[in-house]
Symmetry: C2
Subunit: 489 residues, 2 copies
């Protein structure tokens, strides 16, 4: 065994050992710990933003916003821990004179164990080292091993140090968070297949996410993997709204398609519309808007190369035409925003056109009628989002779309843009495969914690031996389900 | 393609088509449908019980009880649908003057699609054709295809007909439930890998459950599989309770080990104790109790053969001795109850001794001290249950066991027997692999519905276009989370 492999084994062994200590800490201790991480990240000040800007080429304003989102998420999970109802405590008291006698049974959620988190290239803060996966796993009571994304390694190390400092000052068990910086492919496999690993979180490409899923499924004891692998986020543009709002929709979507140079998993990569008067006007306006967006640097050379190559391949496909592109020529690793157009018949015959082109690109598919529109929409694989743009009259004429939409995606929007993922309890960031490897969970919002826990039932326990959340007196004052009734008593 | 394969493809295609109709039915319609199934099963009267007794060799009293459990489960899910809060509706209202503006986002659970259910040999009613998997999937809004267990094919056909009648009389869409009776191995693979299949439920052996999991993971789009694959359900017998209660515990456990000829996945197959005065007394008493239990017929010749072979293999291992067996010799497919004994050192060195011997058999492992006891206990793979038998004084001396227990199993018992799985909201029937393929869910109780649903978010929807559960006026009068507060308003 070479030194690197041995090191990964030691890391996972330590994570497993730390888990047996971390699970004994109180919700209040964990909440303080998460808040201390947030404060420490803020304490890094401008130097953290400067390093991230240098490594990712993202604008300072965007990075400052993303840091705010990251610390907000940490504090949100701290608040969840203090409020306490998230453990879904449930109590069914005994009925001794039932035949057979019904025993006392109680239930609550319990952490899975060590979680391996793979940092995302496009979110150096919010979905990397101290991002949503790490915050939700630590809140659940799991220990975490983060594999840094090589595209922002130094940023990752700075955040990791902020977490390590928080472990020390909060007097938390050593090794509840560990950071590995191996850049080789094999190390990911070793981490996912290590016996101590209990679950995996990943945000990135289809090929990466699928590989991790396959490693986990091939284990002697398969473990849950939540890979969030992106989407083309189909948008339906209905006729009446195009007739009346072509200009504003073109403006709104040119903004969404090119936001952050299209480097969001919720980027609208597929627009679907029926050929009609309003569509021609929309095409003209969207073309003008896209032409006016200046190129900007992408995250790293690999992503830039993939964008350029994939867009050229898409444009080379039969029946696909370039509708418009930025009039300014890109330099270095800048992306040139572009819109392509094709007919439904081409799209339906060519699965290559469904592939995500990660960057400021979108394909407009024109359809003869409602049937073609539905055929195009339902031909796509599972999505994170799908959007319906329409007037009241459109939704009367196309009411069946509302019935179909939940089968397409984890989040359905009406008259909005899919970019911008609000962090709130009702958010769903996930969807049918390949949007994510397990559509039953979300990667964003408070409910993201559910990926890392399992229910445990306690039968016939004396009150003194029960966990706090399940004791008769409800010492934590949390909402519980008692004999089928929600109560705080 | 041969005729059988073609037939399975048509069945799954029909299930997918029926799903698009079934998801439009109201909770009330689904509740009535489930209740009609329950009534129809009861309407089959003694003929159903007689057929099941003939096919499974289970006693009439047990089958009558199991039928009651089955119809109770169907009615429990009907009640869940009428009460309505199970959809976990959540509403986060818009904050337009936030920067950036926070949109209105709402969320609820939505059915995955067609579910394939594999009937269990040991529960011809409660975990077969109209059992817990079928009832929970239909309640979720999923369509169901049941693959009948060949060991009780005619019973399965009778129950399937009761469901088909309920579809007709409730005017439900055709094909929302279908029953296939193919007995070959290949047909299971075809069903799991069919593009229309969205999830799988299975109760049975490790080899069967693991195979289905692997088929699903190998799909182009992997789907969730909930395989419940049994356990050896370790029981810790602590010294003080053995000192004082050896006789009653021996009686209680002889009953649990031989209940239903040990053909329960919660059968206590492993007893762990520290060598001490009370243990010798317990061994003598347990031996006497087991010797007095008469052999009885097992479910089918395959299970009988496996029991006989696996027990002989276990007894042939080094350091394993027969402690006691029924003094009556078995005939035909009868099982002879038996208890074996070995030392911790043998158990720890021999993973074969961890393998489930499905039937009225248990292995008692004797340990030198607390360290050996913990080593034996934590060496086992994931379990459905684990039980601690002890006095107050034991739990003071062995308090660390309570901290370890949740990592071992999905259900922890104190001073009870694991057989007898109460159907209630706090029940957890599932556990770390290989107890089940996804420890985050339970197969028993109301929460079993969660296996077949995923959350869907609705962003910026006009009230009129929202599902009933998410409308402003709360027309279904259900508990919802509104801006972080539980309310029925």
């Amino acid at each position: 065994m070479n030194k690197d492999i041995a090191e990964l084994h030691i890391v996972m062994y330590q994570s497993g050992k730390a888990f047996t200590e971390y699970r004994k800490t109180s919700p209040e201790q964990k909440a303080n710990f998460l808040e201390t991480i947030a404060s420490n990240i803020e304490g890094l000040g401008d130097s953290l933003i400067a390093k991230a800007a240098e490594e990712t080429h993202l604008p300072v304003a965007r990075l400052t916003g993303e840091r705010g989102r990251t610390t907000m998420q940490l504090r949100m999970f701290a608040q969840m821990l203090r409020e306490g109802s998230w453990v879904q405590a449930s109590v069914d008291t005994a009925i001794p004179d039932k035949t057979p006698a019904k025993p006392d049974i109680r239930k609550m959620l319990y952490p899975l164990g060590p979680v391996v988190v793979f940092g995302a290239s496009n979110f150096p803060f919010a979905y990397s080292t101290a991002g949503g996966d790490t915050a939700s796993a630590l809140a659940a009571g799991c220990t975490v091993v983060v594999k840094a994304h090589p595209a922002h390694l130094q940023t990752s190390c700075m955040v990791a140090e902020a977490i390590t400092q928080a472990i020390r000052s909060s007097e938390m068990p050593e090794h509840i968070f560990q950071h590995v910086t191996h850049t080789d492919f094999e190390s990911g496999k070793i981490l996912v297949q290590h016996p101590a690993t209990a679950a995996v979180g990943f945000t990135g490409s289809y090929s990466g996410g699928r590989a991790l899923y396959d490693y986990a499924a091939a284990r002697k004891n398969p473990i849950p993997v939540f890979s969030e692998m992106g989407s083309i986020n189909p948008v339906i543009l209905l006729p009446d709204t195009l007739q009346h709002n072509a200009e504003s929709i073109a403006k709104q979507y040119a903004g969404s398609i090119t936001l952050g140079m299209g480097q969001f998993c919720t980027n609208p990569g597929l627009l679907i519309a029926i050929e009609a008067e309003g569509l021609h006007h929309f095409i003209e306006k969207l073309g003008n808007e896209i032409a006016a967006v200046a190129p900007a640097q992408m995250l790293h050379p690999g992503i830039h190369k993939a964008y350029f190559t994939k867009m050229q391949l898409a444009l080379a496909e039969k029946g696909v035409d370039l509708l418009s592109q930025s009039t300014v020529l890109p330099t270095g690793i800048e992306a040139q925003p572009a819109i392509a157009i094709t007919k439904a018949a081409n799209f339906l015959q060519n699965p290559l056109l469904q592939e995500e082109v990660f960057g400021p690109y979108s394909l407009l598919v024109t359809c003869k009628d409602k049937e073609e529109l539905i055929a195009v929409w339902t031909s796509v694989t599972g999505q994170l989002t799908t959007t319906l743009m329409g007037t009241d009259s459109d939704f009367t004429d196309f009411s069946s779309l509302l019935d179909i939409a939940p089968s397409i995606a984890g989040r359905i929007l009406i008259n909005g843009v899919p970019t911008g993922v609000e962090v709130c309890p009702s958010m769903v960031h996930g969807g049918p495969f390949p949007a994510s490897t397990d559509s039953r969970f979300t990667a964003v919002g408070i409910e993201a914690v559910k990926r890392w826990v399992r229910p445990v039932a306690y039968q016939n326990f004396p009150d003194a031996l029960l966990p706090e959340a399940l004791k008769n007196g409800n010492p934590l004052h949390i909402w519980r389900m008692i004999n089928n009734e929600w109560t705080k008593d």
